[in-house]
Structures are given as structure tokens and as C-alpha cells.
């Protein structure tokens, strides 16, 4: 398993380098200008000077190599320094955002908490809701519960978050003023009250996001459970005199979870990708919002870095999914 993991990691390196290059070329080719949001009253000569100051006009390969050096060498050094208090990275140019003139990693780290809280929690909640729904739907196949579950998850698929989000706000923030409509990223949780506040402000976005996760995962879970319920070992367990609970939750569940867990693992990158629309609607201003504003602002270093981190996560989660598969299913040994 270990060698499998290491081998996959090694194999991933060239893939990732290639991906980074392609992302770069794509972004470079894309139309748009980091100065687009500057007012029209700024004259062209001044714009040109601002552009020069950002180093926009050097040739593409120079910019790519610079980025690659910064990403693969300078930033790790900075991290190393930060952890061990050394100063290897002193004087080195980090990846700097064009919008903020600040190191992109600092901002990414700043954004991480709210994204993880909201999107991550939504994912967890979605998973936690989806699994029981899937299990019950499968166990009681074609019951009303199952039918309703199917219907609701279809709705979950077909209603875009820009609709469900606004609807939630109208219902639960305006008509029934239970929850805030705007997320406060500065809230520090240090006592019970602020914790309550945090819970309240997370409720709506988490609900919107969780609906989608639930819809998808519960279908998966149901299918997987149905598949396993027909296996012979279930009968064996019953013949041993096990209770239905044990049969279902010990024997069938663990087997059914194998494919589902990998699906869950594959969904993890999307947490870090943030939920662009939902974040926007509830002003969560997480990584998704960071990416989308960076794209609108043509902040190439930021977009490039985020997109690449995303690619790394995707590749990693693919690997994690495979490894998990191997861990959960003793029959599979990658050697």
C-alpha cells in the first residue's frame, strides 16, 4: 500500500507540472486585463505604467517560470521558515496578487477558515443526512420514504443554488428573521453566545449547500446498499441469528460504504474550491469568492495558484480515494 501510494505520488508530479503549464497558458490566453475595474477616468498612459509595475508585459514563459519558481521553491521555503523560525526565504519574491499586492498564500490562508467551516460543514452535514436517507431508502425500497427521497433529491439536483439561496434568505432572514443574511467573517468564537451566533450565521449557507450534497450522495448510498443487500453474506448473517440492526449496520453498511467513501473522497476538492455562488449569496467570502473575484479582476497569479492548488487536491483526492478503497476493502491490495 505504501509503495503504491508513493508510486502514485511520483507519477502525479509530471501530470501536475503539465497541468500547471496548461492552466497558465489558458489564463494567459484569456481576454481581460487586471486593470479592467479601474475607473475609466484613469488615462491610458497611467494604465500602461500600472501594468508595467505589475510586470504584466514580460513574455509568457518568463512569467511562467517565475511563477513555478515561486510556487515550488519560494513558498515552501516561506512555510519552512514559518514553522521553524528560520529565514531562508528572506528577500525572495513570493507570489503576489495583482489585486492586493499581497502574497497570495497569505490571503488563501486567511480565507481557509470560513470556507472550511461553511462548505466543509455543509459537506459533512450533507454526508450525514445522505447516508441514513440512502440506507433507509434502500432497506425500504419503493416505500413512500424512498419515493419521497427520490423526488427530493431530484429537486436538489435541479434547483440552482442562486435560487434556493435567495429563497432561504427571503424566508428565513426576512420574513422570519431567524438567521442573518450576511456572514460575518470577523466573528471570533470565544464564548457560548458567539458560538450561537456562528451557528446561526452558518445555518442558511450550510443548508443550501448540504441539499445538493445530500441529493447526490443519498442516491449513491441507496444504490450501493441495494446492491449489497442482495449478497449472500447478508443471508449468512441472518442465519447466524443476528438482529436486523446488526445485519444492516454492521454487515451491509460497511460493504456499501466502500464505493460511497471513495465518492465522498472525490468530492473533497470541491470543498476547497469553495461554493462560488453560495458564498456570494451569503457573503461568506471564502475561497470560492476569492477565485471568482480574482477571475473577474484578472488577477492571474491568484487564479493560477488557486487553480493549481485545486488540481493538486484533485489528484491527491483521487489517490486518497484509491487508498481508502484499499483500506476499506481487504480484498484489494495494491502491490
Amino acid at each position: 500500500m505504501l509503495t503504491f501510494t508513493i508510486r502514485r505520488l511520483l507519477l502525479a508530479i509530471p501530470t501536475l507540472v503539465l497541468i500547471s503549464l496548461i492552466i497558465f497558458l489558458l489564463l494567459d490566453l484569456a481576454p481581460g486585463d487586471p486593470l479592467a475595474d479601474q475607473p475609466l477616468s484613469i488615462p491610458p498612459e497611467v494604465r500602461q505604467k500600472m501594468r508595467d509595475a505589475l510586470g504584466l508585459d514580460s513574455p509568457a514563459y518568463v512569467r511562467y517560470l517565475l511563477w513555478a519558481k515561486q510556487f515550488f521553491w519560494v513558498e515552501p521555503l516561506v512555510f519552512f521558515d514559518w514553522v521553524f523560525g528560520t529565514s531562508f526565504s528572506e528577500g525572495m519574491q513570493r507570489i503576489v496578487s495583482w489585486q492586493f499586492r499581497a502574497p497570495v498564500f497569505d490571503i488563501i490562508i486567511q480565507r481557509m477558515p470560513q470556507t472550511l467551516w461553511v462548505v466543509g460543514l455543509a459537506y459533512v452535514v450533507g454526508v450525514l443526512i445522505a447516508l441514513p436517507i440512502g440506507i433507509i431508502s434502500a432497506y425500504k425500497q419503493y416505500s413512500w420514504f424512498d419515493q419521497v427521497g427520490t423526488f427530493v433529491s431530484m429537486i436538489g439536483f435541479s434547483v440552482p443554488p442562486f435560487f434556493s439561496g435567495v429563497l432561504m434568505i427571503v424566508i428565513f432572514a426576512i420574513m422570519l428573521p431567524w438567521f442573518p443574511s450576511i456572514y460575518d467573517t470577523t466573528l471570533v468564537v470565544n464564548d457560548f453566545e458567539s458560538f450561537g451566533q456562528q451557528v446561526r450565521q452558518m445555518t442558511l449557507p450550510v443548508m443550501v449547500l448540504a441539499l445538493q450534497t445530500t441529493a447526490q450522495l443519498s442516491r449513491f448510498m441507496r444504490a450501493s446498499m441495494l446492491d449489497n443487500l442482495n449478497h449472500d453474506y447478508v443471508r449468512t448473517a441472518r442465519a447466524k441469528g443476528m438482529t436486523e440492526k446488526v445485519v444492516l449496520l454492521v454487515h451491509v453498511l460497511r460493504n456499501s460504504m466502500i464505493p460511497v467513501v471513495t465518492v465522498i473522497a472525490l468530492g473533497i476538492p470541491s470543498i476547497f474550491g469553495g461554493a462560488i455562488i453560495t458564498e456570494q449569496i451569503f457573503k461568506v467570502n471564502g475561497l470560492g469568492q476569492l477565485l471568482i473575484t480574482a477571475i473577474y479582476a484578472n488577477d492571474l497569479p491568484m487564479v493560477q495558484t488557486l487553480a493549481f492548488i485545486f488540481a493538486v487536491l484533485i489528484v491527491l483526492c483521487n489517490l486518497i480515494a484509491d487508498v481508502l478503497y484499499g483500506l476499506l476493502d481487504p480484498r484489494i491490495r495494491y502491490d
Binding site: 509503495t3 508513493i6 508510486r7 511520483l10 502491490d335
Partner: protein, 345 residues
């Protein structure tokens, strides 16, 4: 069934080896092989049925598939009807496919569930012949008649048939191109007792009618006894004994063959009360890591020291009977080469 004329063998297998490589480590280096088939040789005469028996996992299917070049074999030669198969390139191989066909173990799994019977049977026709729709349909009907399938079923799907009928579909497909040689890979193992007899009878009937040559793979010894002219017994990738049917069943020589035969229960309560089967202890060793010396040495009731050291030679008892066992080492006169199985006629 082979007539006592000087015809050469239809199928000539020499020192066939099929290793499945095991890759492991950081760079997937090649660290060993599963020696599924480890140097076997035999001949099959035209019109003859060679039975191939052995325990599960001993490499029977691999032999069958290697002969038809469904695997890229590791070593050895295969000659069918004078054509070299083992090394042929894909084009010439394709043109030789019609003369050799295969019937599979699991009639359910070997039929595409989304194709109708007619299209399954017609597939080889489409591949190798250029027939009009009518000619093709006529041929399909003819084949269905041969194997005893009602023509009305042509548009049905495999799952609508019973196991025996499905196996008939598989047989019809194998017959479509008028092959000379058919590998039957446990064609009856998945079938019910009463259906087994139907299929075996059909195979025999077709053999007579179409002058077919079979390699009949099975682990059901009583069925092999019924259908085969000669029988080869395999153990862990090697042939341990090959003999004509009657000789083999009357007087098995290799300890493994003896054990195998003694283990077959008879539907006769009186006999069964007294039968003392030779119960082999332990499991078959892994083909990835076969024991030193004789492969059977780990379970052999008659094991001697030499068995654990030296691989036994093949001893020829005449009449095509060969045994690879040290017990017969003093039968010096009968030593053959290191390759077992040639019919020396």
C-alpha cells in the same frame, strides 16, 4: 475415436508456458511470475477428444486460452492444423480464428446480455464472412437446428434461456465458422446434472457429424471418462499423467491421479460405505511460488526425499501413456525426453 492411420496430430503443443508477471515495488518492477502453465506438451489427433482434468486453479483454462492465443504466451509452440499459432501476428491470427473456437465455462457470462441469440450466433459470421442478410439468417437457423434450439427463439435474449439452452447458444456460436478444433472449457460445470447429459450428448453428436476435435477441460472425472478418448491430468501448471481413457481410469499411475479418482463418489450406497478415498491434506500451493522439486510433493501421500529435490522426468509407458513421477524412475526403459505428452505412434 482416432483411427489407426498415420495421420499427424491436429494440435501439437510443445513446452507451452504461460506466466502472468507479478509487478511490485515503487517502479512496478517485475518481481516474479504466476506460473499458470509451466511447460506442457501434448498432441491431439484429428477427431479425437482430449480430456484435461485437474483441480481448480491448476491452469486448465489457461492452457485452453493459450492454445487459442487469447493470451500472449510466454514460451513454447502451438501448431493447429499445420499453422503456427503461438507466434502469429494479429492479422494472420485473425484469419486462422475460424478453424479454432472455444466454448466457455459459464454460459451466462459468456453471452453478451444485450445481444439477441441470432446476433450472438451471427457475430463470427459477420467477422469473417461476407454474407447477405438472408444467407446469414439461413446459416443462423441451420446452426440453431444443429444444436437443438428452436428457430423461434432467434430474437430472444440470453437471460430468457435456461442454462443448458444458453450453453447451446455458445456451442452454436463456436460452430458457426466450421472450426476443426474446439476448446471446451468446462462447458458443463455450471449446468445441472440432467442438463449436463444433454450438452455432452450434443457435443458428441456434433463431433461425429462435423468431424470435430475437442480439448475438453473439466474437473468432473466421470464426465471426462465418458467423453474423452485420452485424458491429461494437470497439477499446478504441469501435466502429471496422460493416458488413454481406459488405461487411466482402470489403473491410474500418478499418486495425484489416484487420489483424484478415489475422491469421486459413486451413486451406489453399498460401494460408498466401503470406499476409502485418499484424502489429500493441505491446499494447492500457489503457482507464484511452486514448491521445489515435484509440484505435488507437498501433498503427495507417497512422497520420497527425492521428490522434494528434483523435478521428476516424464516416463513413457508406451501407447502414449506418460507419467511424471519419481516412483516410476526404475522403469528405466521407458524414459522419454523431458517433454511429456507427445503421442508416439
Amino acid at each position: 475415436m482416432a483411427e489407426e492411420t498415420a495421420v499427424g496430430p491436429l494440435v501439437k503443443v510443445r513446452d507451452l508456458k504461460m506466466y502472468f508477471p507479478i509487478h511490485s515495488g515503487l517502479f512496478k518492477s517485475h518481481v516474479g511470475d504466476i506460473k499458470a502453465v509451466d511447460g506442457i506438451s501434448f498432441d491431439i489427433l484429428p477427431g479425437e477428444t482430449l480430456g484435461l482434468v485437474g483441480e481448480s486453479g491448476c491452469g486448465k483454462s489457461t492452457v485452453g486460452r493459450s492454445i487459442l492465443r487469447l493470451y500472449d504466451i510466454t514460451g513454447g509452440t502451438v501448431e493447429i492444423n499445420g499453422n503456427e499459432i503461438a507466434q502469429a501476428d494479429s492479422n494472420s491470427l485473425r484469419s486462422k480464428r475460424p478453424m479454432m473456437q472455444m466454448i466457455f465455462q459459464d454460459p451466462q457470462a459468456s453471452l453478451n446480455p444485450r445481444m439477441t441469440v441470432a446476433s450472438i450466433i451471427a457475430e463470427p459470421l459477420d467477422e469473417h464472412l461476407d454474407l447477405t442478410d438472408e444467407e446469414r439468417l439461413a446459416r443462423v437457423y441451420e446452426l440453431m437446428d444443429w444444436v437443438g434450439l428452436n428457430r423461434a427463439f432467434a430474437k430472444r435474449y440470453p437471460h430468457e434461456f435456461s442454462g443448458g439452452q444458453r450453453q447451446r447458444i455458445g456451442i452454436a456460436r463456436a460452430l458457426a465458422l466450421n472450426p476443426k478444433f474446439i476448446v471446451c472449457d468446462e462447458p458443463i460445470a455450471a449446468l445441472d446434472v440432467s442438463i449436463q447429459a444433454q450438452v455432452v450428448n450434443l457435443l458428441e453428436e456434433l463431433q461425429d457429424r462435423l468431424d470435430l476435435t475437442y480439448l475438453f477441460i473439466s474437473h468432473d472425472l466421470s464426465m471426462v471418462r465418458h467423453i474423452a478418448d485420452r485424458v491429461a491430468v494437470m497439477y499446478l501448471g504441469r501435466i502429471v499423467e496422460i493416458a488413454s481413457r481406459d488405461e487411466l481410469f482402470a489403473e491410474p499411475l500418478h499418486p495425484y491421479t489416484q487420489a483424484l479418482l478415489s475422491a469421486v463418489p459413486e451413486p451406489d450406497p453399498d460401494y460408498e460405505r466401503t470406499r476409502k478415498p485418499i484424502v489429500l491434506q493441505g491446499d494447492v500451493p500457489s503457482p507464484a511460488n511452486p514448491p521445489k522439486g515435484c509440484n505435488f510433493s507437498t501433498r503427495c501421500p507417497k512422497v520420497m526425499d527425492i521428490c522434494r529435490q528434483i523435478e521428476p522426468d516424464v516416463f513413457d509407458f508406451g501407447d502414449g501413456r506418460q507419467v511424471a513421477c519419481h516412483l516410476y524412475a526404475d522403469n528405466t526403459a521407458k524414459t522419454a525426453g523431458s517433454t511429456a505428452g507427445q503421442t508416439t505412434k
